[in-house]
């Protein structure tokens, strides 16, 4: 049985199980981790990486991580690494210790990759394991016959060769040796003469373990354990005792790893990762369908509102889900990567190109390599919209060399040096038109939207966000002013006659439903036609008001169909405020 449990087939079986588990529970982790790598198919890039000790594993890690972009690839790569790690450890441990093999392989190959993203560290350990295997297979110093003096030298040189080979290929893990002092006293990561920073806390331990495994094959204790395991009842020649022990060890390993994963990976973080991935892949419907406590955590509302705004529905369906207040539109900027990442998209949808650029830049600065493909794309877009083609080209040059983003870069490159093409493109021309005519400094998130709305009558994102902010913060007077001055023509309708007002280009089909719902609360019925209020909205409002009066302000008496109206939000907010 011991032979069965340490065989390649068994490791393969475990790897398939790991693949299944990862695909079920951690698929988004890989999709999320993709943004932290930046691999370029370029000879210069390869040379710059491979000519440094340890660069090979870093290069390989970046190469593999780029495929995390595809949903199936991350779990597959991690499972493959797990298999190779388990296989190598099995060989090293002389077909022993399934618990250790499984636990170590899972920890190193899977979780470190999923949770901490330093795949180079994983590959470094994998290289250590397999180089040791190869070395031992070819005969070690310990096993050599010491009779001929030449043998000493032969083995000595072989050992030196393997050490140098290992150092060059996977010296990543040796970085702490030089910088250990600073690593432990100053910062978690340290830079050395090696190519990349190292995950210092993990690697030295793993090297020691690998070394012990290599030497442990001669431990007499393992023989004793062997004896004990092979005694007792047998079934078809297999010791049942060993089956029970090994299964228990594997279960224990999986349990320990699961506990570790859950502890280092809170549910909230998982949700945010999922949302982040959906946002990046523009899966707006999935974000809207995701059950989230939006009224409790503004960041969830931010995602949902962004999904609505990206589909041009924020003004239309503002109360599609329970809103918690204006904080759910854009959270205050507190120097975190996730905020910067999300805000870059929110500002882009608003048409606030300068702030989108700033946030994309800020978000990218959190990335270990200082480069992130998704932000490079955003920066290319913002620079093209602003007419800074030379800068955009620089970002596109980088993206051209990637596997996943080259096509998108090619699509954007056609705008470089061709402003007429940019003006013909719906997405970029919208951003370009949102640029203000004056050299204004950014003021605050809300204040910035006013010049954008003034510059671009078609800027729906800016209007939706501005109106939504006023509505969610209960500033109805300002909202009326906003409608009169930014959403309908002629501006300032008080001075005009009673003719129907013409909506701004952004609302060519009429004011959004949520805005109409707020307006009917302030307008006389006679003004409905002028503002293009849908009669159905007026009727619903009358019904809602009647229901409230009849129930004496009892919220539970209001039918569910009113939950997605602004009146319901306004009433519940004011009631909560009063309480």
């Amino acid at each position: 049985m011991l032979h069965f449990f340490s065989s390649s087939r068994f490791n393969l079986l475990l790897a398939l199980l790991v693949l299944l588990l990862l695909q079920l529970f951690c698929a988004y982790d890989f999709l999320y981790a993709e943004q932290f790598s930046f691999f370029r198919f370029s000879a210069d890039y390869a040379a710059s990486m491979l000519l440094h000790p340890g660069g090979a594993v870093e290069y390989a890690a970046q190469f593999l991580c780029q495929f995390y972009y595809y949903r199936w690839a991350g779990p597959f790569i991690a499972s493959l690494l797990f298999f190779l790690m388990a296989e190598g450890l099995s060989v090293l441990s002389h077909r022993r210790c399934p618990f250790f093999c499984v636990a170590a392989a899972l920890l190193v190959a899977v979780l470190e990759t999923v949770v901490h993203y330093p795949m180079a560290a994983t590959l470094s350990i994998l290289a250590a394991v397999w180089l040791t295997v190869v070395y031992l297979r070819m005969g070690s110093v310990l096993e050599s016959r010491l009779s001929a003096p030449w043998n000493h030298w032969q083995h000595f040189f072989r050992l030196i060769f393997y050490l140098i080979l290992y150092y060059w290929l996977a010296g990543y893990g040796w970085a702490p040796a030089k910088d250990a002092l600073h690593t432990w006293t100053l910062s978690r990561y340290a830079t050395s003469f090696l190519q990349v920073p190292a995950a210092a806390h993990l690697l030295p331990v793993c090297y020691v373990v690998v070394l012990l495994l290599a030497l442990g094959r001669r431990w007499s204790t393992s023989v004793l354990i062997d004896d004990w395991l092979t005694r007792g009842r047998r079934w078809r020649g297999v010791s049942l005792r060993s089956v029970v022990v090994d299964v228990a060890q594997i279960l224990l390993a999986f349990c320990l790893v699961a506990i570790y994963y859950v502890q280092t990976h809170p549910a909230d973080e998982c949700k945010l990762k999922r949302l982040d991935v959906m946002r990046w892949h523009e899966q707006w419907n999935r974000i809207l369908l995701e059950p989230l406590p939006t009224w409790e955590r503004p960041v969830y509302a931010c995602y949902k509102n962004l999904a609505l705004a990206s589909r041009g529905k924020l003004g239309e369906s503002l109360n599609l889900f329970p809103q918690g207040g204006p904080e759910g539109l854009w959270m205050p900027w507190r120097d975190t990567r996730q905020q910067a990442d999300l805000l870059a998209d929110i500002f882009w949808v608003q048409g606030n190109v300068a702030m989108a650029q700033k946030m994309a830049f800020n978000a990218m600065s959190f990335h270990p390599s200082g480069l992130c493909p998704r932000h490079l794309l955003r920066l290319a877009e913002t620079n093209l919209a602003m007419g800074n083609d030379a800068v955009a080209e620089k970002y596109l040059n980088l993206l051209d060399d990637t596997f996943v983003y080259a096509d998108q870069a090619r699509c954007l490159r056609k705008f470089v040096g061709h402003p007429e093409r940019l003006k013909a493109d719906a997405r970029l021309s919208m951003a370009h038109r949102c640029l203000t005519t004056d050299e204004l400094l950014t003021n605050d998130e809300l204040g910035d939207l006013r010049p954008i709305m003034a510059a671009n009558p078609a800027a729906r994102g800016a209007r939706d966000y501005y109106g939504a902010y006023l509505l969610l913060s209960g500033q109805l007077e300002e909202f009326r002013y906003f409608i009169d001055h930014y959403c309908i023509f002629p501006f300032n309708p008080a001075s005009s006659d009673a003719a129907p007002l013409r909506p701004a280009e952004a609302y060519a089909d009429g004011l959004p439903r949520s805005f109409q719902e707020a307006l009917v609360m302030m307008l006389d019925e006679a003004d409905d036609v002028r503002y293009g209020i849908n009669p159905e909205v007026r009727q619903d409002f009358s019904a809602f008001r009647q229901l409230l009066e009849d129930s004496g302000g009892n919220v539970s008496a209001i039918p569910e169909r009113f939950y997605s109206t602004y009146w319901f939000y306004s009433f519940t907010q004011s009631k909560a405020h009063r309480q």
């Binding site: 800020n362 030379a390 800068v391």
Partner: protein
């Protein structure tokens, strides 16, 4: 066993043959092709090294053809007509149109050419016909440039960073080494490195946030100093060493930053408060003058004259309505005398360029001065002039101007300036070279450039810091910040600074 040895032996032979083949191929001498066509144009090359003046000790000016796809092959030949018509060096372009001159060949060619002119001819082949293009010149100056350039590498602007460091680049080759790296100091901010008279042995830099303070390197030792000297001087900012090494002039600034919604300038940085003082390194105390710490004025960017008797700085009238009226802040160039023996200042401030009154041909009126720097020979002062404000690195209109201290005349460094930003600059110890940062390359990333300035203050066309791969800048997304020329490499390492960071100030 025998079989194994035979295999090893065969493998060794194959590897040896392969290596020698590659070696022979690389040693093949390029020849000047016989051209059948003559072109009156110079093919566009990057970086633009056409008609520039270079020091003899500069690293190979490797460049590439901007459109290599137009040609099947290319060769460049260097001639010095004074020495004859034989080419001094001939180099073939690689498949990407890059001319990767060897370091030894390059220096061997340039060393005897001080004060002479090189003619560079590019030959291109299309199908089987070679074309000889219009030559361009490289003037080799008599004077060498300082051997090192020290700069900070960081993402261009905005608010955040992850990795940042201060690096030195050997200008005679392509070696870059780190002096300080924030990966060893909790990813803090490090800035404003400054040297005493281009000496690598006396320098300082600031660290902000974690391990905050000013780090002063003297006699091989790094001392960490608390920058908070008093309520009036909460932190030391822009530095300039006194030539004696005993004092450092600093400004203290209450700096703010805002973003443009639409502007080439992208970012606006302004001070709400600033003043200038001199820090006594030996006694750890500030020396102040009321003339430079007037609350109605902003004073910043101090710089000592090479004799240490004059302190130059920029001063502007305070504007209360910031940031709304950020364009109203305009700095004049001023000076005040300083006595290093008594540590006292003069009683009068002289204005060399007044944003209000200066009227001079070729010099814009009502502009704003920043970064004054006096040449070590004391003859010239170069400063940056932009329409307003002091953070000229974000002002596309910022240009370099030269003031002749002997007669007070000023002129733009036309040959060095461009349509985009020229800002921070530093002199070589022999006063003939000026390193400066410019955004002319793409409008965002600052790159170091060098220009030759003769004894009369005339400058030559500037050239960009050469790299081992001429395509380097195409994909390099960090900015070179504060390029400072230094005579020799700085010996201190990132670990020395990290060790100093652990000391209490």
């Amino acid at each position: 066993m025998k079989m194994l040895r035979r295999t090893y032996f065969h493998l060794l032979i194959v590897v040896s043959l392969a290596v020698s083949g590659v070696f022979m191929a690389s040693c093949e001498q390029s020849k000047v092709p016989t051209a059948t066509n003559i072109s009156r144009t110079v093919p566009r090359i990057y970086p633009d090294y056409t008609h520039v003046t270079i020091p003899a000790n500069i690293a190979p000016l490797r460049f590439k053809l901007c459109r290599p796809e137009l040609y099947d092959a290319a060769v460049v030949a260097f001639y010095c007509r004074e020495l004859g018509d034989a080419p001094l060096m001939v180099e073939k372009a690689d498949g990407d149109g890059r001319f990767l001159f060897g370091k030894d060949d390059w220096h061997e060619m340039l060393s005897p050419l001080r004060g002479k002119q090189l003619e560079v001819v590019i030959f291109t082949r299309k199908r089987d016909a070679w074309t000889q293009h219009q030559p361009f010149t490289l003037d080799v100056a008599r004077e060498d440039i300082d051997s090192c350039l020290v700069y900070r590498l960081l993402p261009p602007g905005y608010e955040l960073w992850f990795e940042m460091g201060i690096y030195q680049r050997c200008l005679t080759d392509f070696t870059e080494t780190a002096i300080a790296q924030n990966t060893l100091t909790d990813h803090n901010c490090m800035n404003c490195h400054s040297f005493c008279m281009q000496s690598p042995d006396t320098m300082m830099l600031h660290m902000r946030a974690a391990h905050g303070g000013t780090y002063i390197l003297t006699n091989g030792k790094i001392k960490r100093v608390d920058g908070h000297l008093s309520n009036e001087i909460p932190q030391m900012v822009y530095p300039s060493w006194h030539p004696s090494g005993r004092f450092i002039a600093f400004s203290t600034n209450d700096t703010h930053q805002r973003f443009h919604m639409r502007s080439k300038n992208r970012i606006e940085v302004f001070d709400r408060k600033s003043s200038v003082f001199v820090y006594d390194v030996k006694n750890h105390r500030p020396l102040q003058s009321p003339l430079m710490s007037d609350s109605l004025c902003y004073s910043t960017f101090p710089t000592f004259s090479p004799d240490g008797r004059t302190l130059y700085f920029c001063a502007a009238q305070r504007v209360d309505s910031l940031p709304a009226d950020y364009r109203q802040v305009r700095y004049s160039l001023c000076s005040i005398s300083f006595d290093a023996v008594s540590g006292t200042f003069g009683h009068q401030v002289d204005t060399l360029y007044s944003t209000y009154t200066t009227r001079m041909a070729g010099v814009p009126q009502g502009h704003s001065v920043s970064f004054p720097r006096v040449s070590p020979d004391g003859r010239h002062l170069v400063f940056t002039l932009s329409r307003y404000g002091n953070f000229s690195i974000w002002h596309a209109d910022a240009d370099l101007y030269l003031l002749r201290l002997s007669d007070g005349s000023m002129a733009p460094l036309r040959a060095a300036n461009s349509a985009n930003v020229e800002s921070y600059h530093s002199w070589s110890h022999n006063s003939r070279w000026l390193a400066f940062s410019s955004r002319r390359d793409d409008g965002l990333h600052t790159r170091p450039y060098f220009t030759y300035i003769d004894t009369l203050g005339h400058c030559r066309k500037a050239f960009m810091l050469p790299q081992s791969d001429p395509s380097f800048y195409d994909v390099f997304t960090l900015s070179y910040n504060i390029p400072e020329l230094v005579r020799r490499p700085v010996k201190a390492t990132p670990h020395d600074f990290a060790n100093a960071a652990r000391q209490a100030p």
